[in-house]
Amino acid sequence: MSEHILLPEGSIEKQTTTLNMGPTHPATHGVFQNILELDGERILEATSTVGYIHRAFEKLAERRPLYQITPLTDRLNYCSSPINNMGWHITCERLLGVTIPKRVDYLRIIIMELARISDHLICNSIVGVDSGAYSGFLYLMQYRELIYEIYEEVCGSRLTTNIGRIGGFERNFTNTAFEKLEKFLKEYPAVLKEFEKLFVRNRIFMERTIGCGPINAERALSYGFTGPNLRAAGVDYDVRVHTPYSSYEDFEFTVPVGTTGDCYDRFLVREDEMWQSLSIIEQAYKKVQEFKGTEAEVFHADAPAYYLPEKKDVYTKMEALIYHFKIVMGETDIPVGEVYSAVEGANGELGYYLISDGGRTPYRLHFRRPCFIYYQAYPELVKNGMLSDAVITMSSLNLIAGELDA
């Protein structure tokens, strides 16, 4: 590679070093390979290679009924799998024309915003780790545990949640789930404040992140950036506001926007988004409480053709048994059509392009994975920077291998 590198005019010829950063290096946050051409510690050229954990999700989806695709979406961005699940269910519901009750929408928003917090919490604390500050990571991690406990109460699993169903949730939220949610809402703000005290005005952290891996708005848009990485560059685009889904239009929140698109701005945008998410969860929780004791206190839509009936009904009611059989055997009617539906994933616009030919499985399903879009800009972001900046730029983009390779 070295013979392709043009040295600055007038400089004496230097020997460059080719360094493989990854695919299995702790600083690469997953199975990514970056071939860096270095002059000392300065990066002259970078090439990114992906595909190490490619699992053919889109092909697998062509052989599965709609409800069996949910576990595939879990394994995209596994730091916030509930958002992926909900995005998939919202896409199916659009295709099938299922109307969702308000309470279900609000419960979904609680889960999605918890997932966003959990994702940003990991990303920002890892940015801290990569800049040499490990303690922030430890402070926040126990609150990710609490979020996972809430998931566990709702669906029984923690990381790859498979939470929700077409039409709503498999079961209602328990009282313990709400208690844990209350605990989280009560305790997390203080910890987040402490975390911010550690980083936001920290001289070392600022020196490490300001001006590091920047991208301007025009370039970010050209690359197809979305989510916090685009907003950090100064573009006020959020799917929750522009194309509201799951009743996001009922909530008041602001969309944090940065200016320079560097690592520091990306960090701050994610911090602010966590505060906004907390506010959204509080609003949603209040709205959910209003349903208590009313007829609208439901946890799934009235869509028996697509929503699996409860087991006790399957054993005792003929209708439920028929629907159960039809859903499991893939005999339910799926309309012919094509739909593109996007949600604001923790990382950016997570889109599902679903084509149905009326068969039991999708004719074609494509995931628009924001990480895949970001990572192609990575060589441009790290070029002319230092080697240590390449590490922190990667963590501040929040690159997740599962989403990249699908």
Binding site: S222, G224, Y353, I373
Partner: protein, 196 residues
Amino acid sequence: MLTNETVKQRLVEKFGEQLKDWQEPYGMLTFAAPKEMNLKVLQFLFDDEELYFKFLADLQAVHYPERIGEELAVVYHIHNLRDNLRIRFKVYTDIKTPDVFSATALFAGANWMERETYDFFGVNFVGHPNLIRVLNVDEMDYFPMRKEFPLEDQTRIDKDDEMFGRGGTMMGFGTGMGTHHDSIAEDNKVDKSKEI
């Protein structure tokens, strides 16, 4: 505020009857153009101050084996962020000469999206700066998302697709039509009659 009708009207004014298949599935304006015109249409959508479609949200392909002469569809999802309007634009290409102009000059993000589409469907994006496989291994000589490659072992006869999907209409997989030999790229097939 920009609407589907306005976009359609402007496009018809500019390109006339060359654009076809106008639809609005689930509210998204969808249309198709001859594949030679893909860049002209994208450029017009990008440059026009009223239309302002400057954001390529997604790009991928779909394989329709039964559409003879236009087996592969390349689908662009383009977004006007100012007026918040999305449209879907398709071009169809023959699978034997799957050449489509690359949109990388217009959108930097089209680079890997086109590489992925080439990787899985074999669409040859003419003018792409680095059209090599991105997710699969370099040595692969076939395009796995095409419909002639069903997921499961095609030699199995114990499962019938009629019970698990599309009534056994797909090539291979329980239909008795396909063999494992069909999944090898045409160029690499060994002529059995010449073997000793």
